[in-house]
């Protein structure tokens, strides 16, 4: 499913996907429509623009993950790696790409997202690194299990952030390509899990726990 409020982009992306052999089951122009249509169309991958008119891409990601946990979200942004990209990834997006990325890069990213592999740009890796550092520096809530990166994971993330491809990292560290991918995946998983735990804790504290049962 393609969610984008810019009709030309929607069509361009849909066309590229169709030409590459994917089935575009639905398109949506805003967040509310995306949530509605996702229920009916049941896509495997959602290509989501972060800049939407009615709600932020981050909220849509959160909503989609809550209602359809099997959906994999790839977020696109025109303006680059900023706080909202980090928030979208924390909320459950599997990958992120700039809109100005080349067509081949885009299709590769979609394939990897469909396979369940994380898609990281150097900018996103830097944001994630910074986020883990921030979490470990903040002294509050010592009991909530602040996620920590292992040294290996930090090393690999740093290499991704300096523009090395997984293959180059694998060569440099004498690991297999798959291992490198798993490490990056784990990083994302830790962040997303922590975010979910935090959300549940927040909901319980504020008496919102009932809302989680409501579903879509």
């Amino acid at each position: 499913m393609v969610v984008d409020d810019h009709p030309m982009w929607r069509d361009a992306v849909a066309r590229d996907l169709a030409e590459a052999g994917y089935e575009v089951v639905a398109t949506a122009a805003d967040g509310a429509q995306a949530m509605r249509v996702a229920g009916a169309a049941r896509p495997d991958v959602v290509v989501l623009d972060l800049q939407l008119p009615d709600m932020s891409g981050v909220e849509v990601t959160r909503g989609l993950q809550a209602a359809h946990p099997a959906v994999r979200v790839l977020v696109l942004s025109a303006s680059g790696e900023q706080q909202d990209v980090l928030d979208a990834v924390k909320a459950g997006a599997l990958g992120y790409l700039l809109k100005s990325a080349a067509r081949s890069e885009f299709l590769d990213a979609v394939r990897r997202t469909a396979d369940g592999d994380a898609v990281f740009t150097p900018g996103l890796a830097a944001l994630v690194l910074g986020e883990f550092r921030r979490l470990s520096a903040a002294p509050a809530e010592a009991d909530s299990g602040v996620p920590r990166l292992s040294d290996r994971e930090t090393e690999i993330l740093r290499m991704v952030a300096t523009g090395m491809s997984y293959k180059q990292i694998a060569t440099r560290l004498v690991l297999s390509h798959r291992t490198v991918q798993n490490h990056v995946q784990n990083t994302l998983g830790k962040l997303q899990l922590h975010n979910r735990v935090e959300l549940v804790r927040y909901a319980i504290e504020h008496g919102l726990a009932g809302e989680f049962e409501a579903g879509e």
Partner: protein, 407 residues
């Protein structure tokens, strides 16, 4: 004489106490101060009647009645002044009641009471309307009403103790003037603050709109780049140009996202803001989501070292080589890594250049970092590009200050 001093200090203390609270209207604390002053004055008048001037009163019972009226009137005015409407009527009534009570002293005290240093029955309470008019209408009103009350005070004299009465008059006038000035000042400050808040809100709104517009522009440029690449030929060239502009605009927006307010007055700077402009379609700059705060000169020097490294890449590896800049904010260290995918520097060549005393890589990068108290490492593998790592330790959580060294 002591009475005037006490009156003065009462006013000062209550005004200071009143202004300590939070204010909705600018003159609210002043009204509260006035109320405090009046209640205190009633107490003081009672003390004077009961103990100090007791002998001077020919009709003490009536005097106590006057004190009671003063207390009641203080309550009435305190409540009345907090309400918005009909304040001017209350002010006039306040003046009349106060003057009336003041002049009633004639009937209450012995004729020679003033010679013995007795105050009128209202004591310091007579300043009430002076302050009230000053708060409401400003300096001149305060001074004029002060004059009126002072004249009535004079009228009580019946010839004696002129100098003490003069003291009292001057103090009343001053009190009226000063409090009026204060009230005006408070109103002006509040108006200015209101204006600043409005300007801030407007500029925030503008920023938000600008961001939306920029986003749309970025989208169109990216689309053009894509279509151009697909179409090939002249369109591809157009697409490439669009891509360059898209990268430039994104770098610009990244700057404003990093916060135009990040440069605080304290002389600190956000390193991200200085580093992000280096982003082009060949250079990717990756930064954390939080501000990387550093002392201003140190940040500038670090940025200059980074730019020197990027220049080296362009010079030695050509325009088409890509480079990545990573800024990391560790608890005790700031690290900037510059990596490129060029051919790399053969072993020994780096050390060779440094030994030969040639500037360039060695000086402008390592030298800068050394001056800052940090270090720079250059590592390269032939065929796999070069990596420059700039490290700047934070000393005991305080950003490192630059020494006045060479550049």
């Amino acid at each position: 004489m002591t009475a005037e001093v006490i009156q003065c200090s009462l006013v000062i203390v209550t005004v200071t106490a009143g202004s300590a609270g939070a204010q909705r209207s600018s003159s609210e604390p002043l009204w509260r101060a006035l109320a405090a002053f009046r209640f205190a004055s009633v107490g003081y008048a009672a003390v004077r009647l009961g103990f100090i001037d007791r002998a001077e009163y020919s009709r003490p019972d009536w005097a106590w009645a006057v004190i009671a009226v003063m207390a009641v009137w203080t309550v009435v005015t305190t409540i009345g002044y907090t309400r918005r409407g009909r304040r001017s009527q209350l002010l006039v009534a306040d003046l009349i009641v106060t003057v009336g009570l003041l002049l009633s002293t004639t009937g209450l005290q012995h004729p020679d009471a003033t010679v013995h240093g007795a105050l009128p029955v209202t004591a310091t309470w007579m300043a009430g309307p002076v302050l009230a008019w000053a708060i409401r209408y400003g300096r001149r009103a305060g001074a004029i009403v002060g004059l009126i009350v002072a004249c009535c005070d004079f009228a009580l004299l019946r010839g004696a103790a002129l100098s003490t009465a003069l003291n009292g008059a001057v103090l009343l006038l001053l009190a009226g003037w000063v409090v009026g000035h204060l009230a005006r000042l408070a109103a002006e400050v509040q108006a200015e603050r209101q204006h600043a808040i409005e300007v801030e809100a407007a500029s925030r709104e503008r920023e938000r709109l600008a961001r939306d517009i920029h986003d749309s522009v970025l989208q169109v440029l990216a689309l053009v780049q894509r279509r151009g690449a697909e179409a090939g030929g002249a369109a591809a060239e157009l697409g490439r140009l669009a891509g360059q502009q898209e990268a430039a605009l994104r770098a610009l927006m990244g700057e404003s996202w990093a916060g135009s307010r990040a440069t605080g007055a304290s002389g600190d700077a956000d390193l991200r803001q200085l580093v992000l402009p280096a982003q082009t379609d060949r250079v990717t700059v990756s930064v954390p989501a939080q501000a990387v705060v550093l002392e201003r000169t140190a940040a500038a020097e670090l940025t200059a070292a980074m730019r020197a490294a990027l220049d080296n890449v362009r010079q030695h590896c050509g325009e088409q080589t890509r480079a990545w800049v990573l800024v990391e904010d560790e608890p005790d260290l700031i690290r900037v890594t510059i990596r490129d995918d060029g051919p790399g520097i053969p072993d020994g060549r780096l050390a060779e250049a440094a030994a030969a005393g040639r500037f360039g890589i060695s000086h402008s990068i390592s030298g800068r970092l050394r001056d800052l108290g940090g270090s720079a490492t250059i590592s390269s593998i032939a065929g796999e590009g070069t990596e420059v790592e700039l490290r700047l330790p934070r000393v005991a959580n305080i950003p490192v200050a630059a020494s006045p060294g060479t550049a």
